[in-house]
Every structure is written in C-alpha cells, then in structure tokens.
C-alpha cells in the first residue's frame, strides 16, 4: 500500500498539511507532494476537499517461489446452470498436463448445481471448488474475478486454464492483472517443457498468418484461455470419484449489474463455437431467403449457420453469425462455405476447420485454395440436391424434413 496524490486534482489549498502526523506532505510548485516520511497512515485521505489523495494497493514485491505452485486448474464456465462444453475439453487438456506434471487436476465452477460439479469429476477432475451463490448465476466480471482471485491466492495452482469464450476472455484478464502473472489468449495447443515444467502456450497471431509459442517462465500461475473445440475431451467415467469443495464468496463487491439476458437466435443455429458442423453463407446467397435453405441443411446435419461479413452487412442475418476477423473464430469438424469468395478476413476465422467444403460458382474463388473439397456450381442447385440425397440415404421421404 502507498498513498498517492493526484496532482491534476490538487488545488494547492494546503488543507492536508496539518492532517499529517509525520510531516510527510509538502507544497512544491503550488501542489501537494508526499515525501518519503509517509507512513501510509491514511490520515490525509479524508482531509483533502478535492479527493485528490488516494491509497494504492501495491503488490508486495514477493520473491516468487514458483516451486510452491502445484496443480492444474480449469475454470468450468456455465450458462443457465449448464456447464459449457468447452469446460470438458479443458478437463481433457488439463488431465494430460496434470499427468505429465504428476499433479492434481481441479475444476472451479461458479453458479451451477452440485450435480454439474459431479459431472466435472466424471470427466476427469480430482477436485471441484464450487459456489452456488446466486451472484454467479449470470455472468458478471467483478464477482467472478474476485472469487477466482481469492481461490488462486489460497491454493496456488501452477496452471490455470479457461475457455477463450466471451466469458473467459472478459474476466480472466482481470484475474491475471491482479495476480501479477502472464496470460496467453486463445491458445490452440498446450505442451509441457519437461525440463523446466513450463507450459508451452501455442497460439495464432496476426490473423492466423503466424503461430507463436508463449512462455511465462518466472511467474505463477501460468494462465491461458483456450480456443473452444480444439482440445479433445478426456474419458468419461461414471464411477469416478473426487472431492467437491463448496466455497463462499467473501466480501465481494460489484459495481456492474446484469439486468437481463436476451437470446437473439435459437442455440442450434448460432452456437458457432461449439458446433461440429457449420453451414456458412455469403453474398452469393443473393437474398435473405438463402439462409432458410442453409438452416434446412443445418437442421438435417445438426449444425449451426454462419455467414460472411458481406451477408451481415446486407442485413440478411445478424452479426452473431459472422465468422472471420471481426466476427467469430471457429473450427468445426466440417465447415461449408456457400457463396463465399474466401477473403483473407473470412479465412482467418475458419481455416483451421478439419474439413472445408466450398461451394462457389466461380472456379477461381480463393476459397478453393483452403477447401478440402470444392464444388464449382450454383449453390441453389447443389444444396437442394445435397439435402435430397441425405434424406434418401437416411430413408426419409420428402415429408421427413429436418
């Protein structure tokens, strides 16, 4: 802790001088100045009529003993009380890392029921720290980060992973900032350096044009957000047991309030980051009805509907569907690009998909350069035919529409 004078606010009124029992405040160039006599007694704080004096929490310059930190932690995010699938992927990755380090794997769950905590154990967690406090039901950065910071300070894990989802990417940075440790965003691969026990955090940068390996060698925990759908889930074992540890938020304060959660589109069509199959459409659809056709195919294959920016700009579909540099980054098992030219800003959001199927009239369209399978032709001929064939294959008549 130390006391700070905000010289922008200070008017030089000298009110504070007499409040200081240690003669630590002097006037320099018409402004109050706190000198080295300050004992951080805080007596001056209330003396200032301008509110120019404040206390600053200073991180103690602790000699960092990284050996003290043990264990791998996974933040299991929930939405509407259900653990998000990215949490199970993190447990898969976390298990592998914990095995290599011969240490424990723990999960942290806020705002869901004990049965969800139990699921985390079946998916590989040894311990689950969990809180059912209603303050965690809806995602709110301040309570989430405050309790997570408290838990990490207390238990000192060496690795902390969270999903690179809107939730994880919003509040985990606060946690890392407060703990004075490094955070690597949106990792696509995690390895252990056997010699140093350091976590090698691999992630794309510059719009996917390069990959970088990031280390956090001298601080702990090593923190990373991990891109959904790139890590493999671990083994589910119904009989697996573990420890469930209820935790309570202590002295949590919040200045933000989540008033309402509004769903814009049904989950099946929009949850792009978790979908196995994505059917995306671009300007080549020609009109908003085109998306109806894509929805039909998506319904049949159990996929979600994505789009290029051009289609969003045309107003044919909402922004939440946009894939690409200024939209979502996705990597499903199969990505259909229908009537999308393949601009680099679109490619960076989808090129790590396992299989890319491009349907485009123009054989020269750059999308074919990244496509696993390309079909040159009119999507309005191809997709209906494709739908028909799938239905035939599944023995569904025309009436059995998906």
């Amino acid at each position: 802790m130390y006391v700070m004078m905000n010289i922008e606010k200070c008017t030089g009124c000298e009110e504070c001088l007499s409040s200081c029992p240690f003669d630590a405040i002097e006037i320099r160039e018409g402004k109050a100045f706190i000198n080295e006599n300050c004992q951080v007694c805080m007596a001056c704080l209330s003396a200032c009529p301008e509110g120019a004096i404040s206390e600053i929490e200073k991180e103690e310059p602790v000699e960092f003993d990284i050996q003290k930190f043990k264990g791998v932690w996974v933040f299991a995010e929930q939405r509407e009380g259900k653990v998000a699938s990215v949490a199970y992927e993190l447990l898969g990755a976390g298990h592998r890392l914990a095995d290599e380090l011969t240490t424990e794997l723990s999960a942290v769950l806020f705002g869901a029921s004990e049965s969800e905590a139990q699921e985390l154990i079946r998916w590989g967690a040894d311990k689950v720290y969990f809180s059912t406090d209603p303050v965690f039901e809806k995602f709110n950065d301040e309570p989430y980060s405050q309790l997570f910071i408290q838990l990490i300070r207390k238990h000192q894990p060496e690795i902390v992973l969270a999903g690179a989802t809107p939730i994880g990417r919003s509040f985990i940075p606060r946690v890392a900032a407060r703990l004075g440790t490094g955070l690597t965003a949106d990792c696509t691969s995690l390895e252990i350096d056997r010699e140093t026990r350091n976590l090698l955090q691999i992630r794309p940068a510059f719009g996917g044009n390069i990959m970088a390996t990031i280390l956090c060698p001298n601080k702990r925990p090593q923190m990373a957000t991990v891109r959904p759908r790139v890590m493999k889930r671990g083994q589910y074992n119904e009989k697996r047991t573990g420890e469930i540890i209820p935790v309570n938020p202590d002295g949590i304060s919040t200045r933000t309030k989540v008033v309402e959660t509004v769903k814009e589109i049904s989950d099946i069509f929009v949850n792009l980051q978790e979908a196995d199959i994505i059917i995306s459409g671009g300007r080549g659809l020609g009109n908003p009805q085109g998306f109806k056709l894509l929805e039909k195919l998506a319904g049949l294959l159990g996929g979600a509907v994505g789009s290029s920016r051009a289609a969003v700009d045309e107003g044919w579909i909402s922004y939440s569907h946009q894939v690409g540099q200024t939209g979502k980054t996705v990597c499903p098992k199969i990505y259909f690009a229908c009537g999308i030219s393949g601009a680099v800003q679109h490619l960076v959001g989808m090129q790590s998909s396992d299989i890319i199927i491009a349907i485009n009239k123009n054989p020269e369209a750059p999308i074919f350069n990244v496509a696993t399978y390309g079909i040159v032709g009119d999507l309005y001929e191809i997709i209906p035919l494709f739908i028909k064939k799938i239905k035939e294959l599944r023995g569904m008549g025309e009436s059995g529409s998906g």
């Binding site: 310059p61 407060r178 949106d186 996917g208 970088a212 933000t256 509004v262 074919f368 079909i375």
Partner: protein, 260 residues
C-alpha cells in the same frame, strides 16, 4: 465527462507474411492502420461527448511513428492526444501494456475509458479488462449498444454467444467495443486541418509515474519463445463429374471419414 480512448497502430494483417527461412515477420512495406475496433471506440467516445458533453483524449503506447494514428483520431474530432513513448516501454506484453496505459488514464483523470474489443495484430482482447483491474474500476466487454448514459451511470448491451446481456454500471468504467456499435465517421476538412497543427503530448515512463519493474520487457510476465508458420492445409480436392456425381462423391468421402 472525461473520455479516454486507447488506440493501437497495427499492421494491416491481411498483408503480414512470414519469412519461411528465418521465421520472422516481414513488416517492410506493410501499411499501418488504426486497429479497426479502435475506430469504433473513437466514434463511441465522440458520440458520448456529443450527448453528455466532455472531452475526448486519445492515447496510444507505441513508437514515435504511432503519432500518425493519433493525428488520424484528432482529425475525426478527438480533442487531445497523448503518445506514450519511451524505450523503457519496449517489449511490453499485455500485462505491462495495460499497466502503462492505466497509469496514463489515471493521470488524465478518466471517467470513461474505451478500448477496442481486441487488436488485430495479437488478437488478445486482454488490454481493456486488465487496465480496468489495474485502475480498480469495473469494465464491460463487447459493447454493441449504449442504451443510456448519465454522469454516474451507464447502461449498455454486451454481445454474448447467443444474444446479448443488458448491463448497468457506475462510472468510472472501462468499455470494450465491437464493430456493431457504430459506423466510424470520416474526418472533416476542419478536423484534418486541426489535426495537422495539433501538438501531441509525449509522455515517458517518468511522466506517468510508472514503476520501472512493471513496464517493458522487465514488467512482462510472458515471453515469446518462437514464432513459426502455421501448418499448410493438406488435401485440396476439386470434385469432378456432373453435379450429382460430385455430391455423391462428397457424401461418400464424408461417410468414410465418419463425419456423417
């Protein structure tokens, strides 16, 4: 209302290439732009000022050349600009960057700080929330609409996975914005003239009272070990035959790969 916008000058990513022999970035000849998300942050700040009054200050931490980004922002209508530039800032990761920017925001007495959702060079999206924690103020990410703003209160829509949340906060607050929020204005002629003549403040680490152990390379917990080119995608296959044959072949392939 004292509004501070954090902007970053970034290479236009579409053009960034990696030299496959040395595994380093080829930056020569790559144009620099204001990070696209930050354009929306500037626009948001100008609109807030128009609504409730106040002052818009743009800040950036970067090399001396980053001054051009600040002048561009001034030409759009920002009132003031600060360039945080110091050798000691070099090599900052997101932690050190956020610390440095937060010291500057503190010195400016910011009521509202606006950042882009992420910078397109690193795509980390960490600097905004980290700054808020350093300043001990709340933040709201991915703002797509500002519903209401008053001297000490703001209500916004926060974009989430399958819709949006309505979130309220006290002020001071830090916001990160997505492009859906607004359409950045073009610079006016008057703005361009003013920007040309404007004096841009240059602050070093001692000007913002930064702790030397927390800035630049020294203050950065993370290190880049190496960079490399992404694996090239294999197996591009143009299907052949009539459309019907192509579709049959595709279904065949997908079934073989157990994807259907």
């Amino acid at each position: 209302m004292n509004i501070v916008v954090c902007i970053k000058q970034v290479p236009d990513t579409a053009e960034v290439k990696i030299n496959p022999e040395t595994n380093t970035l080829i930056r020569e000849g790559v144009p620099s732009i204001i990070n696209p998300f930050d354009m929306h942050a500037i626009e948001a700040a100008l609109q807030i000022k128009e609504k409730v009054g106040g002052k818009v200050t743009v800040i950036t931490m970067g090399p001396p050349q980053a001054e051009t980004a600040l002048r561009d922002a001034l030409s759009m209508g920002a009132d003031d600009a600060v360039l945080l530039t110091d050798r000691a800032f070099a090599g900052s990761d997101t932690w050190a960057t956020s610390y440095t920017l937060s010291k500057a925001a503190e010195k400016l007495g910011a009521d509202i700080i606006i950042c882009g959702k992420q910078a397109i060079d690193g795509d980390t999206a960490q600097v905004g929330p980290e700054m808020a924690e350093f300043l001990d103020i709340p933040h709201i990410s991915y703002i797509r609409k500002i519903e209401d703003i008053r001297a000490d209160y703001i209500r916004v829509q926060r974009l989430m996975e399958s819709g949006y949340d309505i979130v309220e906060s006290t002020i001071p607050v830090l916001l990160t914005v997505v492009k859906e929020l607004n359409e950045p204005r073009l610079p006016s002629l008057k703005g361009k003239m003013a920007a040309k003549k404007a004096v841009i403040k240059k602050w070093t680490s001692s000007d913002i009272g930064a702790d030397e152990d927390k800035i630049g390379l020294k203050g950065s917990p993370t290190q880049v070990k190496n960079i490399f080119a992404p694996e090239a995608k294999t197996g591009r296959k143009m299907l052949e035959g009539t459309l019907e044959e192509q579709i049959d072949a595709l279904i065949q392939e997908l079934r073989q790969l157990k994807c259907m």
